[in-house]
């Protein structure tokens, strides 16, 4: 009997250990947020959003950074969504299982696992030097598009797969062509899930730093980018720049920049979660 009681006690203890471990992540997240807010919240003001970078921490702002992030965001949407969704439709609806589809599949899984900095090396060589796009917004957006494309492909394929076969078959039986079926039936049905995947991928792109450092986005840019071929900087890089300065004032700026960046990322993630929940509640296949 003694041994049984002991196992039961150990079982209970493990339960509390499980709760502890689960809360470690939450505690860390809370510590991070509290720290960043207490350091940086006082620095947030309209001036902080409208000021250019400066040598003096009190005068420096994130105007070039947030406009650069907006540029990158917009261009990445334009490039990555058609490419990613298009590739996913091809792989899911047009290829038959076989050697080629196997190769494509393994390739995409591998692309998703390549460190982001390697995409930076690729972009530096291909976009910046070979295609002579320079250290521009366009180069940055192209790199980030390639980086998040595997994520979009994987999530879009899952969304397409979740659409019941019967819908497709009914459409084809009525005489619709394959593309008509995809465009009028499959895509609308899969749309919420596709959108969720895209938003999560974009939120990843917004926070990426390393590949953009590779193409020289850390250099001092004293103006707001006006065309896709202008030099630029983005929020994470401005934050990195401020973190690497020794003066305490810049650490405060970095914290304030982080509040803005986290705000964007959390809003995007929140939207994605809401869309997914709504779709789940609505669909009754």
């Amino acid at each position: 009997m003694n041994r049984i009681t002991r196992s039961k006690i150990i079982d209970q203890l493990f339960k509390y250990f499980g709760i502890l471990c689960t809360s470690i992540g939450l505690i860390m997240l809370a510590a991070l947020l509290i720290n960043v807010f207490s350091d940086g919240f006082g620095r947030l003001s309209i001036d902080f959003f409208t000021a250019l970078p400066s040598r003096f921490p009190e005068k420096a702002g994130i105007l070039t950074a947030w406009t650069g992030t907006l540029w990158i965001f917009g261009l990445t949407i334009l490039i990555a969504i058609p490419l990613g969704v298009g590739a996913a439709i091809y792989l899911e609806e047009y290829t038959r299982k076989g050697f080629l589809s196997n190769v494509l599949e393994i390739n995409i899984a591998n692309l998703a696992g390549i460190p982001s900095i390697i995409y930076g090396i690729l972009g530096l060589t291909i976009f910046v030097r070979t295609l002579r796009l320079g250290e521009s917004v366009l180069s940055g957006a192209l790199i980030l598009s390639l980086l998040i494309m595997p994520i979009i492909v994987v999530s879009t394929r899952e969304a397409l797969r979740a659409v019941p076969k019967t819908i497709k078959e009914a459409s084809l039986a009525l005489g619709a062509s394959q593309w008509q079926t995809i465009w009028h039936q499959v895509l609308p049905a899969a749309f919420p899930n596709i959108l969720t995947g895209i938003i999560l991928a974009l939120s990843r792109a917004i926070g990426e730093t390393a590949p953009l450092i590779m193409i020289g986005a850390l250099t001092y840019v004293p103006f707001v980018a006006k065309s896709p071929l202008d030099e630029f900087t983005v929020l994470p890089i401005q934050i990195f720049n401020w973190i690497s300065r020794p003066q305490a004032g810049f650490a405060i700026n970095a914290a304030a920049g982080i509040i803005v960046l986290l705000g964007i990322v959390f809003v995007l993630n929140g939207i994605a979660v809401v869309i997914r929940q709504r779709a789940r509640n609505k669909i009754k296949w």
Binding site: G18, L122, L124, I206, G207, T209, G216, N269
Partner: protein
């Protein structure tokens, strides 16, 4: 009309195929870029020197091209990260799968996912500004840049990877195995350790390897908090430089295009690429194995 539709169908299919082709071109591009520049690098530096020299000083006048200090820095921070992420992540997976109520799981999972959504530059800031000063209170001699602090923070970042992938693996274990174990009078914990973990082992190994690969390729946290000193050491209290940090360091500086210093980032990048590629594919193999077993 019908012919027009058929033509359009064909064109659309071609366009979609080109989209899919981009993924193949990306891979080809990466391999071509890394290896073509690395070949010129290895014409100056022998592969033997690269793999066995114990010093990495391409940016100094006295140049040495031994990648080992960068590899040791990378492995050290990765090891610390896994030491944090594996026990915590696995325990979370076990707790959520076997102990927690459905409602609790539904609330807590998206919250844990947030940990993976936080940009890495933010974690880097956290490591440098919060974790390092905190550790310095416990270990007074700890330098401002060290392997321990970014390693721990990186571990926290990859907790969601380990926990959600392990959870999938535990979830795939058939209920009948649990029932059998409970029927024999085992407690939940005994069932977990003697039945579920062995049954889900290949899925969990797959998760851990993927997490290792993630940690090896992580850049910003170590670039901010681990330092920029190539250091052949396995002491977590020292400052180290990882492969990724080195690549960042070079691209921040003014290294002329085409010089041997410039080529080092491609050699280091190729090393990183090969390392993560091997790990990812081992992970896929393990993953496939457990999926075949139970599906």
């Amino acid at each position: 009309m019908k012919q027009k539709t058929r033509l359009a169908e064909h064109v659309i299919k071609m366009i979609l195929f080109l989209c899919a082709l981009v993924t193949v071109l990306t891979t080809a591009g990466i391999i071509w870029v890394l290896f073509s520049e690395s070949i010129s690098f290895f014409q100056t530096v022998s592969l033997k020197e690269f793999l066995t020299d114990t010093e990495w000083t391409p940016l100094f006048t006295q140049k040495h091209f031994g990648i080992l200090p960068l590899v040791s820095g990378t492995l050290l921070t990765t090891f610390i990260a896994i030491l944090v992420a594996l026990p915590v992540g696995l325990t979370i997976a076990i707790y959520l799968n076997e102990y927690a109520s459905k409602r609790f799981r539904k609330v807590i999972k998206p919250v844990l996912e947030i940990l993976a959504a936080v940009p890495t530059v933010v974690y880097g800031f956290f490591a440098l500004v919060v974790m390092t000063p905190f550790l310095q209170k416990i270990i007074p001699d700890l330098p401002g840049f060290n392997a321990l602090s970014p390693g721990i923070i990186m571990g926290i970042m990859i907790i969601p990877f380990v926990s959600s992938l392990s959870e999938d693996a535990l979830f795939a274990v058939p209920q009948s195995l649990r029932d059998a174990s409970y029927g024999m009078g085992a407690t939940r914990l005994q069932t977990v350790f003697r039945v579920l973990l062995p049954a889900a082992s290949s899925g969990i190994v797959s998760a851990v390897i993927l997490a290792v690969s993630r940690a090896i390729g992580e850049t910003m946290i170590v670039a901010i908090a681990a330092g920029q000193q190539p250091n052949l050491t396995f002491n977590p209290l020292e400052s180290v430089e990882t492969i990724t940090t080195y690549i960042v360091q070079v691209s921040l500086g003014d290294v002329p295009h085409g010089s041997i210093e410039y080529q080092t980032i491609f050699a280091a990048g190729a090393m990183l690429f090969v390392l993560t590629l091997i790990l990812n594919n081992i992970s896929f193999q393990f993953n496939r194995r457990y999926r075949q077993k139970y599906e």
